[in-house]
């Protein structure tokens, strides 16, 4: 009798032979598992529909087989089907080797070997739940006497599975980047002082190493000519001052950035690793890295696309001020879609900022400086702003980044003066409180 791969269930028509559990010449019982088949859904145990002796095995481990393909030929043991269930002669049951499921770490198997023909030591109701959830109870360790599996064991197993699935490949916790890996006695070489790191520093350390470990970073460098933008700024700053705002470079860059993000929405997106989806956001909340005494803080300026340059400048000042005074609320530092880190006020040129996960890109601004530039075949003095765009290479390719930064540079270099019109409220205070209860 030929044993062929039976239908496996909805949508599963083929799989890879993960294990063959019988040998040629071996006697098998009806329903004994002969093969483990791995499909993209699960590892399925394939039973023989009848008792007999395995004459010839036609597949080998690693083979991809389809429904209807010949697995093995079975010699019937003969004899009439008796009414009372007579057990055909059998041999020691081979323990099915459990192939690890798609490389994922599986919680340990039950220490109690399963006996063919006898249900696992678990109540029928629990076995039903497991069936419905697609849980292989042979992998669950029973905590009760006799290795009996109870609901709590299944819960525990699920929690373990979840932990395994959610943990990113390398462990990211701990402040490994802050504390030295080994204990080193620095006082051997001179006097030292010890100071506990702050909780902000701990958080920064954790988030930075998490992002660094998970996100494959690439940084795209570029220069922007901001000579004209500075001229615009100069022309309008007096008017802004009257309205109580300080027209610095950052609000202008934010405006140019948002226009570019609107054209390249991937840079405003996030990656949902669990579901394997990219989440595009219809809002533009720009995080601003602020240097404070305790360390880096990143308040978020919400709906930057809907705000005038004046509103942005007012709000920016408020946010940065409160961040420095540590008067910023946690939720005011959440929900960003893209971050800007401006070091221009301090100095330095190009640098490679670290993406502020779950965002996918970050823009680092260096100090704008006078440079000799060739323009219209003449050497001219221009103010050049160094830009560094770091991005998550898992979902953004180099070409995307090049296109994005070109758009951005263009938006900066030919900044639309109309954006500077004082159409905003120009009110005095508290725009940052908007949207908060």
């Amino acid at each position: 009798m030929e044993i062929r791969l039976p239908r496996l269930g909805e949508g599963a028509n083929s799989g890879v032979v993960a294990g063959i559990l019988v040998k040629e010449g071996e006697k098998v019982r009806k329903d004994q598992t002969i093969l483990e088949l791995e499909s993209d859904k699960a590892v399925a145990a394939i039973p023989v529909p009848e008792a007999g002796t395995v004459a010839k095995i036609s597949v080998k481990e690693g083979d991809e087989i389809k429904v209807g393909d010949l697995i093995l030929t079975l010699k019937a043991d003969g004899g009439k089907q008796e009414i009372a269930s007579s057990q055909p002669p059998t041999q020691e049951v081979p323990q099915p080797t459990m192939s690890a499921q798609r490389g994922k770490e599986q919680p340990s198997r039950s220490p109690v070997p399963q006996i063919e023909g006898i249900p696992l030591a678990a109540a029928p109701s629990l076995r039903k739940i497991a069936r419905e959830l697609g849980i292989d109870l042979t992998r669950v360790r029973g905590s009760e006497r006799g290795g009996r599996i109870v609901l709590a064991d299944v819960r525990q197993y699920l929690a373990e599975l979840q932990k395994g699935a959610l943990a990113p490949p390398p462990p990211t916790s701990s402040v490994a980047t802050v504390s030295p890996p080994d204990h080193v006695d620095f006082s051997k070489w001179g006097s030292v002082r010890r100071k506990k790191i702050t909780s902000i520093r701990k958080t920064i350390a954790q988030r930075m190493s998490s992002s660094w470990n998970v996100v494959p970073h690439v940084t795209q460098f570029e220069d922007a000519d901001i000579t004209d933008l500075l001229a615009l700024r100069k022309a309008h700053s007096a008017a802004y001052e009257k309205k109580g705002g300080r027209l610095t470079l950052t609000p202008l860059i934010i405006k140019a950035l948002v226009r570019s993000l609107q054209q390249h929405q991937m840079f405003n997106a996030s990656l949902d690793e669990g579901s394997g989806e990219i989440i595009y956001k219809d809002y533009y909340h720009i995080g601003i890295a602020v240097d404070t005494e305790q360390g880096l803080l990143v308040p978020v300026l919400r709906d930057a696309d809907k705000k005038s340059v004046l509103d942005i400048s007012l709000e920016l000042e408020d946010l940065a001020g409160r961040a420095r005074d540590r008067k910023i609320a946690i939720d005011e530092m959440q929900g960003g879609t893209f971050t800007i880190s401006n070091q221009g006020g301090i100095g330095g040129a190009h640098f490679t900022p670290i993406v502020n996960k779950p965002e996918v890109a970050i823009l680092g601004l260096g100090r704008g400086a006078l440079r000799a530039v060739v323009r219209n075949k003449k050497i001219e003095q221009r103010v050049i702003l160094p830009l560094g765009l770091s991005y998550d290479h898992r979902i953004i390719d180099g070409a995307d980044a090049a296109r994005f930064i070109t758009t951005l540079v263009q938006a900066i270099e030919s900044f639309d003066e109309k954006e500077l019109a004082l159409a905003g409220r120009g009110s005095k205070k508290k725009p940052a409180k908007k949207g908060k209860k």
């Binding site: 239908r7 039973p47 007579s86 696992l120 678990a122």
Partner: protein, 476 residues
């Protein structure tokens, strides 16, 4: 005529068929049930479990009355009116049939009387008394069951050669009855006829009766049968049968010598054959095995994606409760639930005197598979309850995993074993340990205490038997 449209058609109205039809209807499906007999209920109700148990009950009364002279109670010689006995059986069966018909009606299951035949994987043709009907279905469940096997050599068209079907009609009480086959049907019906007054010769080709049951469970049954029957011949093959006037001439090989004997009647109980011929299965993708049983997977699916099969027709243990469980699985799978006949414990019960019942791993099976097990037995001679009705010829046995102490199998022989076995099924299904049984109070005086005491014996402290330190031997 327009075909009848239905979500599910069930072919065969036996235990498997009506269980599937009712359950599917309870789950909101439109169901058509096709049955060729006038009555629903199939073999179990009409010519199987129910009539056989009715007659066993009636004859048990005769036997008890006979046995009670030792207790100081004597009755006059009983008179047996076969017509009234048959009528009594008939009322039982009719009551059950009426009940089923009512249940079908309440659930709005459409029952079509007629013989079904698959035209293809979407259409069933039904030959009814008022012509052909066609049923268009989305899913079909085949539950056509089985019939007694009657080897060609015995099929002489002589009504003196009976199968269980005819034997349960009890046309007469033959003076000499040959029972061919010592399985449970032969043993049960042999018992009935023996008590009614027939001289029974039982012939079994194998070396033991009741294949599948452990030898120690069969022994008390055999001992009693040896008294009740004229003769039991094991390892004996029946060769030929021939009509010889009002007798059947039977040739068999006894101890290497051919022997010819005359019997008034012969009961052939050598197994059952699935009713898979002439069903039009060749017009579908359904596959049969070499013995004619339909091949299904643990979800009861045949090789045809829309056709399922349950009950005797798929083979395995040919028992009503197995059919009923398979019916649930098939319907669950059809309605999109996950269910599977996977490592399900099917208890077996033989309603001989005394009864035999077992479930899970038997002692013989454990030996054969070289499973490390510990066996504990509790003889009913130590049971007050068994003593109180003079039936100490019983035994309760547990097959236990010595490491986990889990109960892997239970075997019982003795009066009422069929009712006692359910505790064993529950214990195994729940993954209970011997200690779980020992720690559960069993009421006194009942036979169920034998389960508890057997479990206690595993730990060496059963009150009513002396079985010291068993457990330590295991560990040592």
């Amino acid at each position: 005529m327009r075909p009848i449209e239905t979500e599910i058609v069930v072919l065969g109205g036996g235990v498997g068929g009506y269980s599937a039809a009712f359950y599917a209807a309870d789950k909101g499906k439109k169901v058509v049930l096709v049955e060729q007999d006038d009555r629903l209920g199939g073999v179990c109700m009409n010519r199987g479990c129910i009539p056989s148990k009715a007659f066993l009950h009636a004859t048990k009364l005769l036997k008890e009355a006979d046995d009670s002279s030792a207790r100081g109670i004597t009755f006059g010689k009983p008179s047996i009116n076969l017509d009234e006995m048959r009528a009594w059986k008939e009322t039982i069966v009719q009551k059950l049939a009426d009940g089923l018909a009512g249940l079908a009606k309440n659930r709005k299951v459409e029952v079509i009387r007629g013989r079904g035949y698959f035209e293809d994987s979407t259409t069933l043709r039904v030959e009814t008394s008022d012509g052909q009907k066609f049923v268009h279905f989305n899913k079909a469940i085949v539950a056509v069951g089985s019939k007694p096997a009657l080897p060609k050599a015995f099929d002489l068209g002589n009504k003196r050669i009976m199968t269980s079907d005819e034997a349960l009609e009890i046309e007469e009480i033959p003076a000499n009855l040959l029972v061919v086959g010592g399985g449970y049907i032969g043993m049960e019906l042999g018992t009935v006829y023996a008590i009614l007054g027939s001289k029974i010769t039982m012939v079994e080709a194998l070396d033991s009766l009741l294949l599948g049951a452990d030898a120690d469970l069969v022994r008390p049954v055999k001992r009693r049968a040896e008294k009740l029957f004229a003769e039991i011949r094991l390892g004996t093959k029946v060769g030929k049968m021939a009509t010889s006037g009002k007798h059947i001439k039977v040739t068999m090989e006894v101890k290497g010598k051919e022997k010819e004997e005359l019997f008034d009647r012969v009961l052939v109980s050598v197994g059952r054959t699935p009713l898979t011929n002439d069903l039009g299965l060749e017009n579908t993708k359904v596959r049969k095995n070499d013995n004619g049983f339909i091949v299904v997977n643990p979800q009861q699916q045949t090789d045809d994606p829309v056709i399922y099969a349950v009950g005797d027709v798929v083979g395995g243990a040919l028992l009503a409760h197995k059919a009923a469980r398979e019916a649930r699985i098939a319907v669950d799978v059809i309605t999109g639930e996950t269910n599977s006949f996977d490592s399900i414990i099917v208890p077996a019960v033989v309603f001989t005197d005394p009864e035999v019942a077992w479930c899970g791993i038997t002692e013989a099976e454990a030996k054969e598979r070289e499973l490390p097990v510990e066996i504990v037995r509790f003889p009913w001679s130590a049971s007050g309850r068994a003593l109180s009705f003079d039936r100490t010829d019983g035994m309760t046995k547990l097959v236990i995993d010595p490491v986990t102490e889990r109960v892997l199998g239970v075997g019982i022989v003795g009066a009422g074993a069929g009712d006692l076995i359910s505790e064993g099924v529950l214990a195994i299904e729940m993954g209970a340990t011997a200690e779980d049984l020992a720690e559960s109070i069993h009421p006194h005086p009942t036979l169920s205490e034998t389960m508890m005491e057997a479990a206690e014996a595993f730990y060496g402290y059963s009150t009513h038997i002396y079985a010291p330190k068993k457990k330590e031997q295991v560990e040592g």
